[in-house]
Amino acid sequence: MSLERIDRIIDKYADEKGVLIQLLLDIQKELRWIPKEAVLRINQRLKIPVSEIYRVASFYTALSVKPRGRHLVRVCLGTACYVRGGPRIIDSVERTLGIKPSETTSDNRFSLETVNCLGCCALGPVVELDGQYHGRLTPANIGELLSKYK
């Protein structure tokens, strides 16, 4: 674990107030999770208690204290997507990947999360894959979409 990457991110926010969440979001993007080494480094440099850092990291759903897979599948279960068949999409994804939400496939290829509204309600049901939005999905075409991600 290179502390250099973590230090570079901390340096960006050096003098600002209230940066913990922004800092953790950047670490999450860079490393795909918040490892213990990152927590200890933040504690060392910014003097924020370890318990406080873990409290924040475990409160917010965008942050993960467990490693995430190479590809993040986020199935929207917001109300509009829900009434348009979102639960059937999540069932289909669970069946195809063999994991439940908050889990990662054993080959580290996919992590699955549910999300409550991506703001594309007119196109529901929606799935976000690695930051790309896919709308008008059906249990039939979701499998084909997933197979494109190695």
């Binding site: 209230g18 924040v56 109300t79 059937r88 069946r95």
Partner: protein, 640 residues
């Protein structure tokens, strides 16, 4: 880039921009926002660029990626100027034809126009489309005209004129008076009078004072703020700077949820460009007023949209609300006086300054002035963003603008106000939508989400859905919310699973009343609404689930079975081939039977059957399988 040092500089730049704009030059305006992007808009842009290169039209036709116009259902959409032709559902394969026929030869391609599903008539221009015709798009209209990453587009359309007026022709007292007379109320859900909030912070003696844009928009089904911030961030920024000046704040935060990366990107670009032009930062337009804005990204917590929780999130802590007897307008961010307003509230400010409070107060209803953007979604034909004067009825929004219920089904209810709102049934469709009228029905208008539901939606399951959502999103600080919602979820889950008991309804009412009275913040207090409105208007559904173990909407999986009607089955094997659990026994010519022990009720067989032979049954046992001998579709001939 040009540093503007006075109101005259701004006006001069505006004149130059208008003079160099050739209104007759062909331009293609495509939506560059998240919705159309999800439908492949970027590939359409690429196709246009390639086609222009092929035909040597580069430089002769402009391409502009503009903001969201809200009719996401029909995206990707393309508007061709100067003729103002609107094409919908455009694919890359349509592009060569659009270029050769419409751009070069000024011919219309009928199949790409909007076609009314009932009358078959087409609409050539955007505002001929029924979805847009009946709206009053004071806030959203500019979304089709500006490239959100180019401040000059906004300036050319009178952008920042209101700011210049406030800085040089008005004083803060006069601005406050305009806001008061306008009657503007907060657009985030609370509907609190904007004047009162600003006044409280203005009068507070402590410094520094802070101002915040709330773009957390956590209500599932709401995407109004996304469209405004992605599509025209400067209209929000302008209102924000005016507010900061009036209140006496020099530091502002734009809190944007991390689920909106394009909104973060476009707002960041807007801040940088406004600063470079002298419209933000030090000595704005040479007035001596300094104001800096920083973006703070959310990290995926619905409760952080609550104003006091949002402030603790900006402080880098867990988003937990505070008791409301401490007014954040006096002790907010870092315990200093703070004004927090929703994106749409800030966006209304330049309109009020430019057009006057009297003009604004004439739009809307008696207690709710101005327009409101609604996100219309669910089982409706025209899903998208609808901007109408407050006071327009639910019926007009859902049927006149929304085009009624899709797939020929029947309206059952509309969910309004997100998880804090409630379900409104058919008999109240004539209700005007504003802050006060909807409250009388036990719901609230909220931030503007409207989810339309038809007969296939189970109201008990919807109540369970919202209670589950709130349970997951509860910060856990207060007992009524943390414990009450957990128990309510357990009871509702039991009911939809066929384990409901007689006194469950009474228990739900008690939990709802306790949360309403004693929870720390609006999340807990309004969690009663989904439960109480469904109990009030759909008590019969609860009864069916509890007493008969039956789901009238045929939706709750534990209470339904899929069954192949032998009289209708054509033994085509379509369902058995598509069943992911191989639970259907059958062959060509042999009537199919679903093995209930293997069936996971995914509904695939119901979807694929072309003969409506697959039925959903609830509240009664599955008929026993027909005898083997009767399963053959053709009689077996005896060999002679």
């Amino acid at each position: 880039m040009q540093l503007l040092n006075s109101a005259d500089d701004l006006e001069q730049l505006r004149r130059v921009l208008m003079a160099i704009t050739d209104l007759k030059k062909p331009t293609i305006a495509l939506c560059g926002s998240t919705g159309c992007e999800a439908l492949g808009a970027k590939e359409v842009v690429k196709a246009f660029k390639e086609e222009f290169k092929k035909r040597n039209l580069e430089g002769k036709v402009d391409i502009k990626e503009t903001g969201c116009l809200g009719f996401c259902e029909k995206g990707p959409r393309v508007i061709i100027m100067p003729e103002d032709i609107a094409y919908f559902k455009v694919q890359p394969s349509d592009v060569p034809e659009i270029v050769s026929r419409t751009i070069c030869n000024k011919e219309i391609i009928e199949r790409l126009l909007y076609i009314d599903p009932t009358t078959g008539t087409t609409a050539r221009h955007l505002y001929d489309v029924p979805f847009y015709k009946y709206q009053n798009r004071l806030l959203m209209d500019n979304n089709s005209k500006v490239d959100p990453k180019n401040i000059e587009d906004y300036i050319a359309l009178n952008g920042y004129k209101a700011l210049a007026k406030v800085l040089f022709q008005m004083n803060p007292d006069q601005v406050m008076e305009e806001i008061r007379k306008s009657g503007l109320r907060g657009r985030g859900g609370g509907g609190f009078p904007t004047f009162q909030k600003w006044d409280s912070t203005r009068r507070a003696s402590e410094t520094p004072k802070y101002v915040i844009i709330n773009c957390d928009e956590g209500d599932p089904g709401a995407f109004m703020n996304r469209a405004l911030m992605e599509g025209n961030p400067h209209c929000i920024l302008e209102g924000f700077i005016i507010g900061a000046y009036t209140i006496g704040s020099h530091e502002g935060f734009a809190y944007v949820r991390q689920e909106y990366p394009l909104a973060v990107e476009n707002m960041q670009a807007a801040i940088e460009q406004a600063t470079a032009f002298g419209l933000l930062g030090k000595n704005i337009l040479g007035s001596g007023f300094d104001f800096e804005v920083k973006i703070h990204r959310g990290a995926g917590a619905f409760v952080s949209g609550e104003s006091s929780a949002l402030m603790t999130a900006i402080e880098g802590r867990v988003g937990e609300p505070r008791p409301k007897y401490v007014h954040t307008s006096e002790k907010g961010l870092w315990d200093k006086p703070t004004v927090l307003n929703n994106v749409e509230t800030w966006a209304n400010v330049p309109l009020i300054i430019n057009n006057g409070a009297e003009w604004f107060a004439e739009i809307g209803s008696a207690g709710s002035k101005g327009t409101k953007i609604f996100a219309l979604a669910g089982k409706v034909n025209n899903t998208g963003l609808v901007e109408v004067p407050l006071g327009v009825t639910l019926r007009d929004i859902i049927f006149k603008i929304g085009g009624g219920i899709r797939n020929g089904k029947k309206f059952k209810a509309v969910q309004i106000g997100g998880p804090s709102g409630g379900m409104i049934p058919e008999q109240y469709l004539g209700t005007p939508v504003d802050f006060d009228e909807i409250k009388k029905l036990g719901a609230m208008m909220g931030s503007g989400g409207l989810i339309v539901m038809d007969n296939d939606t189970c109201m008990v399951d919807v109540a369970r859905y919202f209670v589950n959502f709130l349970c997951e999103e509860s910060c856990g600080k207060c007992v009524p919310c943390r414990e009450g919602l957990k128990q309510a979820r357990r009871i509702l889950t039991n009911i939809v699973s066929g384990k409901g008991e007689e006194n469950d309804i009474e228990k739900l009412r008690q939990i709802a009343e306790t949360s309403n009275a004693a929870a720390l913040c609006a999340l807990g207090q309004t969690s009663a609404n989904p439960m109480l409105t469904t109990l009030r208007y759909f008590a019969d559904e609860y009864d069916a689930h509890i007493k008969e173990k039956r789901c009238p909407a045929l939706s709750c999986k534990p209470l339904i079975n899929f069954y192949v009607d032998p009289a209708k089955c054509m033994a085509c094997t379509l369902c058995s081939r598509n069943c992911p659990m191989q639970a259907i026994d059958g062959a060509v010519g042999k009537i199919h039977i679903i093995d209930q022990s293997k069936c996971t009720k995914c509904g695939t067989c119901f979807d694929v059957c072309k003969f409506k032979a697959v039925q959903k049954i609830s509240g009664q046992p599955v008929p026993p399988p027909i005898p083997e001998a009767q399963r053959m579709k053709k009689p077996i001939r005896k060999e002679n």
